[in-house]
Structures are given as C-alpha cells and as structure tokens.
Symmetry: C2
Amino acid sequence: MERVSVGILGCGNVGAALVQLIGRRGPEIAARTGLDLTVARVAVRSVARERSVHLPDGVLTHDAFDVVRDPGIDVVVEVIGGIEPARELIVTALNAGKPVVTANKELLANVGADLFAAAEGAGVDLLFEAAVGGGIPIIRPLRESLVGEKVDRVIGIVNGTTNYILTRMTEDGVTYQEALAEAQNLGYAERDPTADVEGYDAGAKAAIVATIAFGAKVVAGDVYHEGIAGITPADISYASRLGYVVKLLAIAEQEEGQIGTRVHPAMVPTDHPLASVRGSHNAIFVEGDAVGELMFYGRGAGGDPTASAVLGDLIDAAGNLRKGYSASLGSLAKATIRPIDEIQTAYYLNLEVIDQPGVLAAVAGVFGAHGVSIKAMEQEGLGDEARLIFITHLAREAAMQATLRDLRELDVVDRVGTLLRVIGEI
Amino acid sequence: MERVSVGILGCGNVGAALVQLIGRRGPEIAARTGLDLTVARVAVRSVARERSVHLPDGVLTHDAFDVVRDPGIDVVVEVIGGIEPARELIVTALNAGKPVVTANKELLANVGADLFAAAEGAGVDLLFEAAVGGGIPIIRPLRESLVGEKVDRVIGIVNGTTNYILTRMTEDGVTYQEALAEAQNLGYAERDPTADVEGYDAGAKAAIVATIAFGAKVVAGDVYHEGIAGITPADISYASRLGYVVKLLAIAEQEEGQIGTRVHPAMVPTDHPLASVRGSHNAIFVEGDAVGELMFYGRGAGGDPTASAVLGDLIDAAGNLRKGYSASLGSLAKATIRPIDEIQTAYYLNLEVIDQPGVLAAVAGVFGAHGVSIKAMEQEGLGDEARLIFITHLAREAAMQATLRDLRELDVVDRVGTLLRVIGEI
C-alpha cells in the first residue's frame, strides 16, 4: 500500500464533494489500486468558515502556494476556477514535480497549451476530465481510445443551464424569460447568466475538445458564439412541427487542415441521439471516420459527478507518478481556424412578411441571387401575423448572411426573425 | 520514431479493416505518438485466398503460433474468435512478453481471469475494448475513469441484431419472424441466429462488463438469459400504449456484495436514454453512486468501428510497452452471484382470460397471495380475444414466478402470455 498525499486547492461544491468521496471510497480504491489516497491539505479562502465536510486539524490552510510547494504533497487538485492565481499555482505544482488534476475550463481554454507544455517539461500528468461534461468520461476517450481515429466533428450539449431552459421551452411552452427565471430559482443559472446563455461557457469547452480531438491549439477566443436569448416559443414550435428540437450546440470540426469551432442554437432532428438529451444533462456526440457515430451522455455539472471525474484522474495521476510515467499530449501547434463565414450548413429562417401576392417570389429571388437553395417553405398565419418559415439546403454562411442583409432591405419583409443552423441534414 | 511490429491473428472483417486503418492513419499516429505501427505478420487460415487488403509478400502466414513466437513481433492482435486456439495463442504471446489486444468476447467471458493473470504475470497489457460495444469506448472508461466510482448497475443494449429486430417490430409493426428474416437478408443476423436472439452474445458481454465494473470474476455461465423469440407485436403495441419500448437488455448489478447478471427483453420507459437507441446501434448505461447516470452510445459491430477500438488499444499497448508499463486489473476473486430468483424488479404480464365477471378478482387474488402488488391493469379485447395486461410494483422474481405457476392453474386463465421485466420504475 502506498500513501498518496493529496493537496486540494478550493473547497467549494466540487472540492467538498471530492473530500467526501475520497473518504467514502478510500478503502475500496486502496484494495483495487494499492493507493491510499489521503487528503493532506486543503487551501480555502477562509479557514474559519463553517463547512459541510469535516477535516482533521491542520488540514485547512488559507495559503494555496504553501500547499503546492509542500514537499509532503504528492498530487494537487485545483478546483478554485478562474485564471489567476490558478495558473500560477498549477505551474508551481508541476515544476515541483507534482501531477495536477484540474476542473478549470476557463483556464484550459485560454492558456491550456502553456500548462500542457509545463507538465510535459516536468514529466508529470496534467489531467482535466472534469473540465468538459462534468462526470462524463470524454477527455480520456478522446485522448486514448480515439487517438488513432480521424475525428471529423464533435457536437456537444455541454451547458446544462441552457439545455434546461430550452427543454422547458420545448416541453412546456414557456418563454425564454420564464424558463431562465425558473433556472435561476433552482440554482441552475447564475444571477448574471451571461456566461451560460451567451455561449461563453460552452465555447471554452469547445476549445478544449477541439484541442484534444484534433491535436492542435484552439483557444476560447477562436470560438464563434451566439446565445439563446433570441429564441422564441414560436421558433420552438415551428421546429417541432418540422421534426426538430432546438439545442445550444458546441461544435468542433476539422476539414482540409482547418479547424472550426462554434457555439450557437441549432435545430436537431428529433431522431438524432442529441435530441433526446433533456433538462440539465450533457452529451458529446463524436463523428469519426472509422468508428462512425459515438455519444457520451451524463451529468455535466454538480459536485458529486464532477468530483467523480476528478477522482478518476486523481487515481490515474497517482498511479502514473508511482510508475514514473506521465501522459502526454505532444507539442501542440496553433490550429488554423476556419472563419465562421466559410462553414457550410443548412439553415432555418423565420421572416415576418406583408401578406400579399408576389411576396414569396421576391423573397425566393433574394435566396436565389446568393445561391442559397430552399428545401422547404411554409407560410404561418395571415395578414399582420404572416410569417414565412424556410429550411435551406446546405449553404455557405457568407451566402446566408448576404441573403439576410438583402432580405432586410425588401419592402415586403417586416422583420427578419431567428436564423438557426440545422444539423444532421444532407 | 519507434517501429512497432504488429502481428495480427485473423484477417476477416475486423482484421482486414484494421490493416487498412493502420495504413490510412499510420502517418498521423506516428506524428502524434511517435509510434510507427507496421503490420509485420498476419496469420490466416488460407494464404492463397483472394483478399480485399493488399499485404507485402511474406506477411501472410497460415501458422499463427509462428507469429506469436516470432521475436520480431512486438504486439499481437487476436481477431480469430472462439476459445481454442485463441486462448493458447494469447497465453503464448503474453508469456513471450508481447502485449495482446483482443476483440474475443467468448474467450474473455469464459477464461478471461486466467488471461488477465497471465498478462499480470508477464507484466504486459491485455486490452479488449472491442469485445463489448464494438467501437464504443466502454471498457477503458470503466477501468480508468470510473475506477474510483461505486458502480451500482450497468444496463446495456449490446447486441445489434436483436435491437434491429425489436426496432423494426416497434416502428413498422412487423412480426418477430419477419424482422429476423430481414436481418438475415441484410447480413445483421446469422443463418443460425441462436447466439444473438437467445441472448448468449449479450450474456458474454454482460459477464465481461460485470468483471470490469465490479472487480470480481464473472463468467458467461453466471449470466441468466432469456431471448426475444417470444415477443409478439401485441406486446410491443401494449408497451407503446403504456409508454414503453421493448429492448433486449444485458444487466449487471451489485448489491450487498452480490453480483447479478442477466439478459432478457425488458420494457424501457420511452423517456429513458436507452429507449432512443435504434436499429443496430448499441449503448451502455451506467448508474454510479457519485457520477449519477452515464450512457455510451455508438456502433456495436462492423469491421471499421471494431477495428477503431482495436487500434486505440494497440496504440496504448505499444506506448506502454515502450515505457515498460502495463495496465492491471489486480487479482480477481470469484464473484458471489445473486440468483435470478432474488432480483427485485417491476413486471409486465399479459394474460389471455375468459371474459366473464369475477375474472379480475380471481387473478388479482393470485398476485396478492404472493405479495405482488399491481400498479396498473388494462383489459384489451372482448370475448375470445380478452386479455388482461398488468404492470406490477417492484416484486421479487421468486414471488412473480410463483404467481405465474398459480395463474396457469386458474380455470379462467386460457394462457399466460409474455412476462417482461420493467426498468426505470420505482
């Protein structure tokens, strides 16, 4: 049996769940792996604060740097979040020869490559399964199981807050504002929900997934994003009638040496595996050349699921440390990013129009002038309520945006409504 | 760059796909991992036979033992299937210090523990991701990501043939015989479909999953199984009306130190993630104490997906060999198996009865006498067509079987129809 002294930075939701989980599962882990995980030190902002977990005297400290520099600490877990001081703490730990496990998506999506290089240089592990999809094993399968696979595209529902909101809008017909307020009351959404609803959180995860899946450096700033605040109950109900559900997707794709990453609401066919991912669940759908389609589904957030992912990494890192081995991502070159204008996808568009003969001809003429072909059209409502709903064939984003600009100039168009990209269409 | 000489035993569907995949992905794998995978020798039954893959002269041989004993071979892939000579070949390779990758579920489900011990003794890897769920990463997540997790239950749709048949029956109303004939024409089912439709194939996979998830030795003979040949279109349509779909499930569960493994058709609520697994797809649903519910979905068979899983293992094994490291399952004690009589589940039962007053009272009396409570009952049809459809609350299998025995004795019961277990019910 080998004692492994664990230093944990942060004792919030995930940190506290991890302490409890190690307590609960310690004997079984020792029996199965020969590793006796001991929570030796926990760095917190306030040592005096009342906590849900009981820790022996002397374990809590307010000096996180003291933990990462402590020669008695074998492995460090970082669950404080944010970029600084997390970055400096992790680099200090790695340079001291300590493997690090982190759940910090913001950090990895911004300066991940520097951290991977620091780990590589020190010859120790930097593991981060919990940074994407909470408890869902997705980083390890991408890094290890699929390392030989040509991954073409990864499509994730990786933000539980927005998936909860869209599920409520879909299943119960509530408005975006009502669903958001409900999510805030339930603690699924923050008081300031920007990071979730505008797609920044999902974008950070898309950057991490793209980096691992394609072996090239992609950062949060490379990710195009649109949020869900503009989605109306009418969009949801048109989507449903046409055989789709609306989901906020994080997409990472690779084609001809270019990597595209984007987060936006999209229409997903109801028989697509991602369509049945409801409520605050997450799922990551992978399209590979040989393996075909894979999906990984589960709880994308919450203390216990996230702590479970951290624990898996912790056992791996401790085992590797004992064997003098470390996992490596190799050196990551900066990815060539495909601009959003160059993607090809199908689109849904909702137009408020004047209800008179010749309107469709005028509108269809604009689509045609930009080479965007229409796959399906439906008129909804009459008179002042008249709307035209379009689904296009595959088109280039630049052509679709040019179509929108010209449609706004048409006298017969009162308002250009929601534009949604459609996945799973040929 | 390090040259890794791969010896492949068998060049059927999976072996040929693997040879092609290594050819296609070789340069990228070399760039990412530093491993130059070279297919050095391939053992086949007939060297003269025409093949879809081109191999240099001297690579093909009909002597598989010559391959595993060849000092120039670094890693062995076994894709011939069956127990002998696969077992002896693998043990010979392991004893010669060669890591082995296998897709052989039958072998692992019967003598897996001996093979794991041989690998452990030799200090090299025995990896088998492809043995369960084809291309779906499930063995590695269970072994590594979830090694610290208390897994309570694993429920798999792990046989594509039966899932295809049940999907056709559900979506198109065809009979079992029609769907089977169609699956045979499409090459999804064998001429003799016994291994698939009676649940033997799924049972082998359940034994492997139980062994890995619970860290105890479970063999194919420990798995209780029932097939799908008795499922009627009427069962499917009652299930649908009650909000369920019928799936063939492989279940492995652990409670109070006992492990239960069983394969049988079951009713799955339509909003359960497993319900949306259609056609020949596979999925493995995992219930863990901290992680909650996870699902892994994808292609469970076929040359390319299976070869993709083998390739992931091959890269891992070759990398570990270079580092002098090997993954270990530890020593596996024989599991204490929970007899099928002791499981607790909810049930669906379909009874053909005489249509007269007092029948329900008589039937309900039998349920009550054995302590089985009825959650829902519906009468279908009238006169000679009269049937009673029951859904029970949780009950013990022994009590339900005793209920069936007594129901068969009742004069008012013409026939005791299909009994299905129901999952996802409280």
